[in-house]
């Protein structure tokens, strides 16, 4: 039994799966860490990620660009994926207006 959603909203069946993939994998990793090491370890990891994201934002780095600190914390510094080969074209921090224009 195939799901009806792709035929109704004209999206490729993989789109929804891939959009949530990274977040789901992160969550799964944190859950495993919590089960094995206790609640302190994932909590600390999330604190560190928040600090790193704030630092990148202050430096003017857009969230979609690769950030070395974030990569080290999430374990992506020894991994390559399609995102590194076909990156997003925006290289600068875009303001609210261009972002809204793109969504509309």
């Amino acid at each position: 039994p195939q799901p009806m959603a792709p035929s109704l909203n004209n999206h490729h069946p993989l789109e929804a799966r891939l959009r949530n993939w990274d977040a789901q994998q992160e969550e799964q990793k944190l859950q495993i860490q919590r089960n094995v090491y206790g609640v302190g370890v994932p909590l600390r990891r999330q604190f560190e990620l928040k600090i790193v994201d704030e630092m990148d934002q202050k430096m003017g780095l857009a969230q979609t660009l690769p950030s070395i600190h974030r990569d080290i914390l999430t374990g992506n510094d020894s991994r390559t994926d399609w995102e590194d080969i076909y990156p997003d074209e925006i290289g600068y921090e875009e303001d609210f207006h261009t972002r809204l224009e793109r969504i509309m």
């Binding site: 004209n10 993989l14 891939l18 390559t80």
Partner: protein, 267 residues
């Protein structure tokens, strides 16, 4: 969005519905085999790439290098095999630099399996992965949906039935390197002759413990084109000359260089 983009999905669907013929992907309707022997593993593949009913490449390379001692043979969509193997090969290299150890075949297999499962089989890469590492010689196969198999001999592709018939009849548990190479070549030839999607030559890669891997490109060439019976070259004078006109492209002027015209280099 970064990564594999779905921007053109709607457009492609609309084109398909309005009757435009989709371009046929170059597939490697293939025969690939792998066989373990005492002290190593050997993989072999044919060399035909098809685009629908047409042979797109008569001598393509289906044996890809994941790491110096881990090689894999790819069946399915040619581009998918090529790019997935290159991506995972880069990841393996990064990881081996990170860990300061040569990569393991199981690591390669797990990376491939998780990647292909993520894309639910839409990346059509059917691979036989083989290699030697610190734990010995290994032979695995991966399907496009992410399932994997282990075995002492494996075959994949459209010619896998023909190849498996040969492997099942002639495989025995203690093979020498020469016997394994011969067996694999025989299995690929069975696919070349009996399967329409496979043809041309046999490529082979032998990975032995404690020795560098050896790629035998065109190990057997049973499909050399016969020489044409007559030469179709036109003899000189076939076309009559009506008019001849010469035009100088540049003028050659000879000038004697005297001592004072020589360039001063030591000034």
């Amino acid at each position: 969005m970064p990564g594999l983009s779905f921007d053109n999905y709607l457009r492609n669907k609309a084109l398909e519905d309005s009757g435009v013929k989709l371009p046929t992907v170059t597939a490697t309707g293939t025969t690939i085999v792998g066989c373990k022997f005492d002290g190593g593993v050997v993989i072999a593949a044919d060399t035909r790439a098809t685009a629908g009913p047409i042979v797109a490449d008569k001598n393509c390379e289906k044996l890809h290098r994941m790491s110096p001692k881990i090689w894999c043979a790819g069946a399915g969509t040619a581009a998918d095999c090529e790019f997935v193997t290159q991506l995972i090969s880069s990841t393996l290299e990064l990881q081996s630099l990170y860990n300061n150890r040569p990569p393991r075949v199981q690591a390669c297999l797990t990376l491939l399996k998780q990647h292909l499962f993520k894309y639910q089989g839409h990346i059509g890469a059917y691979l036989i992965v083989a290699g030697v590492d610190a734990l010995g010689a290994h032979l695995f196969s991966v399907q496009a949906h992410g399932s994997t198999d282990v075995g002492p001999y494996l075959s994949l592709g459209s010619g896998s039935l023909a190849a498996m018939a040969v492997l099942e009849s002639n495989w025995k548990s203690q093979l020498t390197k020469e016997e394994a190479m011969d067996l694999c070549a025989q299995a690929i030839e069975a696919g070349i002759w009996n399967d329409l999607g496979s043809g041309s030559n046999v490529d082979m890669c032998v990975m032995e413990l404690d020795k560098p891997a050896c790629l035998h490109r065109n190990y057997r060439t049973p499909n050399v084109r016969a020489q044409k019976e007559r030469s179709y070259k036109f003899p000189r004078g076939t076309t009559g000359v009506l008019q001849k006109k010469t035009k100088p492209v540049f003028e050659v002027v000879e000038e004697a260089v005297t001592r004072s015209d020589v360039m001063e280099v030591d000034a």
